[in-house]
């Protein structure tokens, strides 16, 4: 055991350990992959059901995706919490960030539907905030880029009425903003686990 640490060694050791501890986030890739797949499926189903009367279930795919995703996320989160070896303050911050996004999203959907407007473009725009911020907190560039992609997609979706174009923009944003960063994040998390 080395007790004769030079001041420089001490400081380097402290910095190295703090850096490692701050990188010890909970596994988040699962959520991005899950929601990416569910929301793309919901969007494609909505496109296929576009001629159906809204009152008879045009919004059903989003409801199914929301409940399924919420339930699976809760079960996974609870199981993950029991296995977690470290609690990082940033995990809590990321959790609250997404919780506040979900609240904002629910209000946006309610307000938009009451005003007979499609909530999709605004929700896509808002998705940029937690995605971008999660990337910043984790210092993970693919998620930062994902946030920017949602902002661009959300803005562009405001200027088109064509259902096919909106569907394609949304699905592309989901692939580039959630699924691709989710896969890269999973690879990083698997790598960290084996080191």
């Amino acid at each position: 055991m080395n007790t004769d640490l030079a001041p420089e060694q001490s400081l380097k050791l402290i910095e190295s350990m703090i850096r490692q501890a701050k990188r010890s986030f909970q596994r988040l890739s699962f959520y991005f992959l899950l929601w990416g797949v569910l929301l793309i499926a919901a969007m494609l189903a909505t496109y296929l059901l576009r001629d159906m009367d809204p009152a008879t279930g045009k919004g059903a795919p989003w409801g199914v995706a929301g409940f399924a995703g919420g339930f699976i996320s809760m079960v996974y989160g609870a199981r993950q919490g029991r296995r977690e070896r470290v609690i990082n303050a940033m995990d809590g911050l990321i959790g609250w960030l997404w919780a506040s996004f979900v609240i904002t999203m629910i209000i946006t959907i309610a307000v938009s539907l009451a005003a007979h407007r499609d909530p999709g473009p605004m929700i896509t725009l808002l998705t940029g905030i937690p995605t971008f911020m999660t990337g910043r907190i984790m210092r993970f560039r693919p998620l930062i880029m994902g946030g920017v992609i949602f902002w661009v997609a959300g803005a562009v979706m405001h200027f088109t009425q064509d259902a096919f174009t909106i569907t394609m923009i949304y699905c592309a944003a989901m692939v580039l903003g959630y699924i691709l960063p989710g896969l890269l994040l999973k690879r990083m998390e698997d790598g960290l686990r084996t080191t």
Binding site: M1, N2, T3, L5, P7, E8, S10, L11, L13, I14, S16, M17, I18, Q20, A21, K22, S24, R82, R83, R85, V86, I87, N88, A89, G92
Partner: protein, 95 residues
């Protein structure tokens, strides 16, 4: 000019590593500390006990999935000692 004395409890590679990890998280279990420090189980256990006896960390013994689990958390006294140590080290480096 006199140098500030370094806390002998923290001026040890493994104990300093443990304190640095714990200062950056809310709490971490034994396996987390073991993985990040690369220490042996026995040595880590001894140093955790020393830090606990000094009141620098709080140690909670629990069970996780039917296995014993030791969870460590830095105390207020530990944070103060760590900050004083870092300040003293910076003092050495700036001289």
């Amino acid at each position: 000019m006199a140098f500030a004395p370094l806390d002998p409890l923290l001026h040890n590679q493994l104990r300093l590593a443990v304190m640095s990890l714990l200062v950056a998280v809310e709490e971490g279990d034994f396996n987390f500390l073991l993985e990040k420090t690369g220490a042996t189980r026995g040595n880590l256990s001894v140093q955790i006990t020393k830090l606990k006896e000094a009141g620098y960390i709080e140690v909670k013994k629990t069970f996780k999935e039917n296995y014993p689990n030791t969870v460590c958390r830095i105390s207020r006294k530990g944070i103060d000692a760590f900050e004083a140590y870092v300040k003293a080290i910076r003092g050495y480096l700036s001289k």
